[in-house]
Amino acid sequence: MRAPYSLAWRIGPALVMMVAVPAILLSTWWAGFFKTLEMETHLNWSQWVFFSLLIAGLCWSARDFLIIQYYLLRLLRKLAFHHLGSVFEQLPPKSSRGLSTSLIDSPPTLVELQESHEQMIQIRDKFESIDKSGWKTCQLKALPQDLNERVVLVGDSLNTELKKAGSNPFRLWALPSETHKKLCEQSAYFFEVLCHYWEDGTYHGLPAGTKAAVAEGFQMCERFVAFQIVAYLNAVFMYLRYLIVCIVSAIFFLLLATSSYPYAKQNLMMNFAWTLVLIFSSIHLYSFLNFNRNEIIQAIRSDKGRPGGVNRLMISQFVVFGALPAVAFLASKFPSLGRLLFAWVGPIVKSLNL
């Protein structure tokens, strides 16, 4: 994911880009894209330059989208077989809001970090309430340490940022905040403590009541870590959404540019643009389906293990990225069908007196 941002050199994807983009540009040049019947002006050259930039950007975004969705699916599959896998079912369904490639999903806001802070307070209170008399040193050390300091650290940061947010007319997102960073650090710490808890079995010799209380405390830690992982996944999905915006806008404006002028090879150019539309619609729907049927995403969406009813998101995605491009494509290829499909638009526009 950081490759486009950090300019990290990876020979495989970079090679694909270095071959694919010039190949597309050369073949379109050879095919006579943006050539006109009249005398060429510098406008034709500028159109070609912008077209090249758009194609390069499109290929770059598409490559990133494919790489990230591949690795993200691997990560989700790995999480599904992890100790934390079952914990995701216990998370509230509202936390799954941003876990899709739907463009209308909004990222979590700063106020929503309050919930993670409250989880930390509950963890602290739980471990403080456990009677630790007669415990061995190794058992004491295996508990999360300095919980009060950690709660205060996150709480101070959250209060400061919430005060700033109060004076800001815009809604502040949680992801770029300092509190989010601190919560991630706490999550990393709790994850490490949990690893020892899962592996060592330090608390086997304790009385049943104490052992249950400790187990409950660690379950709360697991929920906290799972919540932070979901916040992290939110950031990754948001990144994917920006990539989709890049791809969709590039293809949409390419289609508009191609159809807005009678080029010599306009038919070929339109076919090229429509091919891109259909390819990227298919890729998007395929990856959306993959995410949608993933065990972790389904577990987060479910209401305490129960499946969450009709998936409206899936229907809307199929309409926007499946049905709409297909209908528009068919309407452009078969004008009589287009007139039939869009005959209702004219009367509506007239009745609205726009």
């Binding site: 994911m1 950081r2 490759a3 486009p4 941002y5 950090s6 300019l7 990290a8 990876r10 943006f34 006109t36 002006t41 510098h42 406008l43 034709n44 500028s46 159109q47 912008f50 077209f51 930039l53 758009l54 499109l58 975004s61 790489i67 690795y71 993200l72 691997r74 790995k78 992890h82 100790h83 770029p176 989010h180 919560l183 991630c184 990393a188 994850f191 490490e192 949990l194 690893c195 592996e199 932070q228 992982i229 916040a231 992290y232 950031a235 990754v236 948001m238 990144y239 920006y242 990539l243 915006v245 890049c246 806008s249 590039a250 404006f253 390419l254 540019a257 807005s260 002028y261 009678p262």
Partner: protein, 191 residues
Amino acid sequence: MFEEVESADGTRARMIQKGVFLAYFGLLLAVYSLIAEIILIPLPYVDIDFLSDFSVSIATALMCVVMSVTMAALFHSFHQSLRPFLSKPIATRNVSIAYFVFLTAVFGTVLLLYRYMPFPIFPRDIMLYERATRLGSSLSPILPVFFLGFGVAIWLLSFLKRAQLTRYAIRHSPYPAVACASGQGFFNFII
């Protein structure tokens, strides 16, 4: 995705941000210059004598003023976003204002000269003007430039948002850097 790839002071991130700004203003300037050039093509059948057709002259002069101010603003922004690459600081407020006024005067003069100087006008220029200014005719060569430029501009803005997200959010990993058996592989999982 979880690994630390950026230098601590964020130099690389800032360079990328500046590069996107430079490309963005360069793109806007290029598209606007093309449109301005066509709009201001002098036409032989429009009487440019100031006294004989006052309204046409006023409208043209106003158009030249608006275009020169916009082009000066775009060029100034482009220049300011180029300065960090030349290891020069961004200009102060007073210098910026003086530079902007100077640029407006230069662009205004150039555009007025281009509009009113008796250059030879060819039929293809007249045809280009007529086609370009009738946006609904499906023959305007400005429209594809505008659409393609707009597509690239949206791509650049999304790229900037992605870079911001990577810098502020994705850098913070909820996984421990020290690998233990149960959490092994998460930290260095994705590229």
